[in-house]
């Protein structure tokens, strides 16, 4: 019922946006075709406004830097960047994808940024043969849809599982571990990978309810306490993670909690409280933006006036892959798609090569550990692969 209502309201908002959006883009079309002979475009697809916009803005700024540099080097045949603001909503994604598809000058897309919108827009891009490289949609199922146009410039969620397991084993050196998950595809998937890697070190496990359906975890806390463990792994999202951490700490359990990027949200620290959250390890199939190679950080700051954020570097790399194709004369959608498929090269965040389904070659996936220190999430270390 709630969802329906939200959909109706969302629909109305969407109509308004589409109406507004077309007005804007027709304006920019004119200037682009007037100013440049080639008129090739690439688009960024992600949230630029709304509650989930922080990540999208990080990424769009990375793409902007790539395009800006390209245009300086190729002043006679520029590429225009078209930002497509999805607000992170899967409901808006299909219309927006259609808009990109209808603009035949758009040769490739960086995005969609989130998994939900990727799922909604993916079939359309696939049908139109418009290549997409997502810098941040990490749901593993996206690569299993049979979309020819889907490429992922980061590791998927499951790559974090072994990373988290390795961290628990090699860095925390925990001998007894308790594993909890929220029964979601993401949470249970991660937990299973961790259990597989740690084997007999996992002395107990339990499943809770996600989506805010459970707030009282006394039974889990009792079990964790009885198991007397060195570390607790949680597969799931920040909402439950914060409550579990708080209730564990209140019961006197000091073993650190290790969790995936689903917990990497300020609300985790709010709901656990800074004292209980201290020392929590969060994994991410990404690297801190400060680790990017070369002069990326300085150039990014000079153009955008801010420090690069999470996934700014992968978005920059994804854009550069598309631009390298255009530079090589692949100025049709078909040509560019083939180019990306066969691409192999260095970026600032990683070395790129795509394998089956458009996944990044697993050998190239980096998983980093971040740590909650003083109520803030700070980079800890890159997790060794074994």
């Amino acid at each position: 019922m709630r969802q329906k209502l939200a959909r109706v309201i969302g629909g109305a908002a969407m109509l308004a946006l589409v109406a507004g959006g077309t007005a804007c883009s027709s304006g920019s079309d004119d200037t682009a075709s007037g100013g440049d002979a080639c008129g090739n475009k690439i688009a960024f697809f992600g949230a630029l406004t709304g509650p989930s916009a922080a990540l999208g803005i990080n990424e769009n700024n990375g793409v902007k830097l790539a395009v800006d540099k390209y245009n300086k080097e190729n002043a006679d045949c520029k590429v225009e960047l078209v930002p497509l603001d999805s607000q992170g909503s899967p409901d808006q994604a299909p219309q927006l994808a259609q808009k990109a598809i209808d603009d035949t000058k758009i040769l490739g897309i960086v995005g969609p940024a989130y998994s939900g919108e990727s799922e909604a827009a993916g079939p359309l891009f696939n049908e139109a043969g418009l290549v997409t490289i997502t810098p941040s949609a990490t749901n593993p199922t996206l690569a299993k849809q049979g979309w020819k146009t889907f490429f992922r410039a980061v590791g998927n969620d499951l790559s974090q599982g072994p990373g988290a397991g390795n961290y628990i084993k090699n860095v925390l050196k925990a001998e007894k571990v308790y594993v909890i998950d929220d029964q979601s595809a993401y949470g249970a998937g991660l937990a299973d990978e961790v259990k597989k890697l740690l084997g007999p070190a996992v002395v107990g496990s339990d499943k809770v309810q996600g989506d805010g359906k459970q707030v009282e975890f006394s039974a889990v806390v009792t079990k964790v306490k009885a198991a007397n463990v060195d570390a607790v792994f949680y597969g799931g999202y920040y909402q439950e993670a914060g409550l579990i951490r708080k209730q564990l700490t209140a019961a006197g359990i000091t073993a650190p909690m290790v969790a995936g990027d689903g917990v990497n949200d300020a609300a985790y620290i709010t709901s656990a409280g800074a004292a209980a959250a201290e020392g929590t390890i969060l994994t991410c199939p990404c690297q801190p933006a400060a680790e990017a190679r070369g002069t990326f950080k300085e150039e990014f700051k000079a153009l955008n006036g801010t420090e690069p954020g999470t996934y700014s570097d992968t978005a920059y790399d994804a854009a550069n892959i598309l631009l390298a194709g255009i530079k090589a004369g692949k100025t049709t959608r078909e040509g560019l798609l083939e180019f990306v498929k066969g691409y192999s090269g260095e970026g600032v965040a990683a070395t790129y090569k795509f394998v089956e389904g458009g996944e990044l070659d697993p050998a190239q996936v980096k998983v980093w550990a971040f740590k909650v220190v003083g109520g803030k999430v700070v980079p800890d270390q890159e997790i060794p692969k074994s």
Binding site: A226, A267, G273
Partner: protein, 316 residues
């Protein structure tokens, strides 16, 4: 099945289950009272609870306390608890009264069918929950740690902490007070009279609307106290937690016998421990399954709940 896990942790699962059960019971009172008098399931009661829980946290925020504050000193802890309790009870009672005035009374005046009440109740519940969601930007809000959860003493090796004592103690005191209010006081007699036969009660000079208002205020205050206890125990509040907690409390009320105050207590405590035993025995994912399976099975054998419906039954 993990019998070992259940038996080795039996004591702790029981105490934490009873604590959660006490909160269910306090919320269940609101359902039971309104049902006893109006034969109406006030589904918006979960949001009456949420209002109290939010206002308790906002009261502490107003004093400059947030989720990272540590309060020490018995005097100031009791002060903060009492102030928040009063504010929460007032907020919840006000919410309950507003719901009754806006959503139910006009329907009653027009002799609306029961279905209309049900839908209005659900509508009011969603509207209020969404309003809190928008107001809090759908983010969790943290409560300060007022009462420590370090074990104070042990009974047969089972640690007992201050939060458990406070929650169960407060619930019992509120219950007994309410029970005495209904059974001993003049207003309580009015409530029982309206529950038995509203028209005859009116002929005897009982003001029905006033009695109904008092019922909503009493149920609301209990929910407000439950909200405060929830904050003290869980320490984090999201706008959407009322729905399931309300459903559980309603289940507790039905388990004990809806319309029966003591039944609400028995049902709440029973539900709390059964959830925990199931979590220990089968794993936490079975918690809600066990709770609702218990309800279905119990109603098969005792359709009016454990203690039966009694508020409306003739008594002295």
């Amino acid at each position: 099945m993990n019998f070992d896990g259940l038996f080795s942790n039996f004591g702790e699962l029981t105490t934490t289950g009873l604590t959660q059960g006490a909160i269910y019971a306090l919320v269940a009172l609101g359902y039971t009272l309104v049902y006893g008098v109006l034969k109406l399931i006030n589904f918006a009661h979960s949001e009456v609870f949420i209002a109290g829980a939010f206002f308790a946290i906002w009261t502490w925020n107003w004093f400059g306390l947030d989720q990272n504050s540590q309060v020490s000193g018995a005097g100031s802890i009791i002060f903060y608890l009492l102030v928040a309790m009063v504010v929460a009870a007032i907020a919840s009672a006000t919410t309950a009264t507003v719901i009754e005035r806006v959503a139910y009374r006009p329907l009653r005046k027009r002799n609306a069918p029961p279905l209309a009440f049900l839908i209005t109740a659900i509508g009011a519940s969603i509207a209020i929950a969404e309003a809190f969601g928008i107001w809090t930007r759908r983010r969790p809000e943290g409560a300060p740690i007022l009462v420590g959860q370090e074990p104070l003493f042990r009974i047969f090796g089972v640690p007992i902490d201050a939060v458990q004592l406070l929650t169960i103690g407060a619930a019992l005191v509120m219950m007994i007070a309410l029970d005495m209010f209904i059974n001993r006081s003049r207003v309580g007699r009015g409530i029982r009279a309206v529950a038995q036969d509203a028209n005859t009660a009116a002929l005897m000079g009982v003001n029905k609307d006033r009695i109904i208002m008092i019922v909503f205020i009493a149920g609301g205050s209990m929910a407000g106290v439950a909200g405060l206890l929830y904050d003290v125990r869980i320490q984090t509040l999201t706008y959407s937690v009322g729905f399931l907690l309300g459903l559980k409390a309603f289940t507790a009320a039905v388990l004990g016998g809806i319309g029966n105050l003591r039944g609400a207590l028995v049902g709440g405590l029973l539900l709390g421990v059964v959830e925990n035993y199931a979590s220990g025995l089968f794993g936490t994912q079975w918690k809600d399954f066990a709770a609702f399976a218990l309800l279905v099975v119990l109603l098969m054998f005792r359709p009016t709940g454990l203690l039966g419906e009694s508020l409306g039954r003739a008594r002295a």
